[in-house]
Amino acid sequence: MVENRPLGNLAAHLILISGVALVLFPVYIAIIASTHGPGEFMRGVLPLTPGDQAVENYRLMWEAGLAKAGSPPAWRMLWNSLVMALAITIGKLFISLLSAFAIVYFRFPFRLFFFWLIFITLMLPVEVRIIPTFQVVADLGMLNSFAGLSIPLIASATATFLFRQFFMTIPEEMLEAARIDGAGPLKFFRDILLPLSVTNIAALFVIMFIYGWNQYLWPLLITTDPDYTTIVMGIQRMTSTSGDETPDWNLVMAAVVMAALPPVLVILFMQRLFVKGLTETEK
């Protein structure tokens, strides 16, 4: 905008600020709630100022968990979630980079057929194929394991497709120059394609990590051992109490805040990479 109208600016800012407030308010409530004692919520009024139980709540959640709701300590659940999310993310990136590389740079029989096969799996997310996938994982004895948690979610048509599109924008002469420079296919992949894909990898890393971190239905289905409970499952378990007992909201909120942190950290860290990538991209 070229014009500079104070009133317009003010209105725009008011709208933006109220939008941000609307989004951030629940987050704020969650953080505040996690700092109060267990009794505060019985009174029916939500406190809006921080309480004095923060350290106790977080320590309790971190070290012991909520045994009566069947949830293990938070560090264990966070660790499980982290391993699962990282395995899914790295696995997805690895597989999709390699398959996009194969589809774009190699001429093999039925190349297009395989591409479409991968593309069609876009229409088959976990939820659709959950029963057969469960059967396969159970038959392979992968219930209650990190392998069972992550491997079935690793194949990614989306990422393959995005990398394929990106590789196709890289001029063919780049490959030819590398061939003349004595770089074989894997060297070309490692020395040229990977560095050029950093921006895409960073963006996909964030998306995939959050996807993996937020998995709910799948872990719920294939893990019964509390040693493999993920944080998302744990939160659900803590909130569903039997009878007229109310959940310990202060502790649940402490778990929620801890669960929200790793994705935020991933975004903050990766953001540097893609801002760098965006400003350095070569046509």
Binding site: P171, E173, M174, E176, A177, A178, R179, I180, D181, G182, A183, K187, D191, I192, P195, L196, E280, E282
Partner: protein, 354 residues
């Protein structure tokens, strides 16, 4: 350094597109050969076959003493400069130059020495730590050259390396490439569609048309004795004027042509004349005379271009003279063409007749 020998080289793309239809060519060790021809004639395809980037459908290709038909580009000991440079955008200039050497397992100090030497030759030392995007087009072009130089290959292959530069830079780089090649004496194959570049750079020119060689020779041989009407009109700017012999004969008043046309070799029915050979003043030697109306006068400093139309002909004709003759548009002028400047062609075959 090596000789490059092409024997019956053919390229058929999928879909039965015949891009190269049988090329025989022998490039001597240290020679600078320019492949020139109109767009789509197969120049790039031929060069890429030599580089190993395109498979050879038929024929044999020698580089040095080896048959390299099935060798990978890296094994052919050639270096190529691409039209769009194809520099690695994420590497510094230094690493762009060093990459090929690293892949070949050169020692770090040898790499440094060679990169330093090439950078010195091309005057790009100041940019070695920059990324390609931080360079101007001309500097990128130098880096692309440098990437070829450091390898000290048996042959350089250039595919229109100057066509992305502005006119002034193009002339400058052309001179530098020529000097560099003179100094290094590395066998070079250079593709261009710019006939001026071709004339000035090459020890020999290869004029290609539609996947076949029209003529091979030194620039002056090709300029002064074009082997076909295609070469005649392709090499030289403005292009050679071609006139039907019958038209000229009809203008013959019996004495002004002094029998010039009768001396033409048998079978000649097209007569070519270079724009520079059409003189405003009669020379002493036997010549023919044509009359034409000046339609447009173009002064280009040291020389002028006269666009004329000959009476009874609708063919536009260009004439080049030095300086600025005292003529006006609309004047009817008499041009004198020495007998030795006539190029006899046969219309049906397009070939030169003698």
């Amino acid at each position: 350094m090596a000789r490059i020998k092409l024997d019956g080289l053919k390229k058929t793309y999928p879909g039965n597109v015949q891009a190269v239809k049988g090329i025989d060519l022998d490039v001597a060790d240290g020679e600078f050969v320019v492949l020139v021809g109109p767009s789509g004639c197969g120049k790039s395809t031929l060069l890429r076959m030599v580089a190993g980037l395109e498979t050879i459908s038929e024929g044999t290709l020698h580089i040095g003493e080896r048959v390299v038909n099935t060798l990978e580009p890296a094994e052919r000991d050639i270096a190529m400069v691409f039209q769009n440079y194809a520099l690695y955008p994420h590497m510094t200039v230094y690493n762009n130059l060093a990459y090929g050497l690293k892949n070949r397992g050169f020692k770090a100090d040898e790499i440094e020495r060679r990169v330093g030497e090439a950078a010195g030759m091309l005057e790009i030392e100041a940019f070695l730590t920059r990324k390609p995007r931080q360079l101007s087009g001309g500097q990128r072009q130098r880096v692309a050259m440098g990437r070829a130089l450091v390898r000290e290959p048996a042959a350089f292959l250039f595919d229109e390396p100057l066509s992305n530069l502005d006119a002034k830079l193009r002339v400058q780089m052309r001179v530098e490439i020529k000097q560099l090649q003179r100094r290094l004496k590395t066998t070079s194959l250079y593709v261009t569609h710019d006939q001026l570049e071709a004339m000035t750079l090459g020890d020999r020119l290869v004029v290609l048309n539609d996947g076949l060689i029209e003529q091979v020779g030194t620039p002056m041989e090709i300029y002064s004795r074009p082997a076909s009407t295609f070469v005649a009109t392709f090499i030289g700017s403005p292009a050679m004027n071609l006139m039907p012999r019958a038209y000229l004969e009809a203008r013959d008043d019996g004495h002004s042509f002094s029998g010039v046309l009768d001396d033409l070799p048998p079978g000649t029915d097209i007569v070519g004349m270079r724009p520079d050979d059409m003189l405003l003043h009669a020379p002493d030697e036997p010549h023919l005379v044509v009359e034409a109306t000046l339609e447009l006068f173009e002064a280009a400093g040291a020389e002028s271009h006269l666009y004329v139309r000959m009476e009874g002909s609708d063919q536009p004709t260009v004439i080049r003279t030095s300086g600025q003759p005292p003529v006006d548009e609309g004047d009817v002028l008499r041009f004198h063409v020495p007998r030795t400047a006539l190029h006899p062609f046969n219309e049906a075959s397009g070939k030169r007749m003698q």
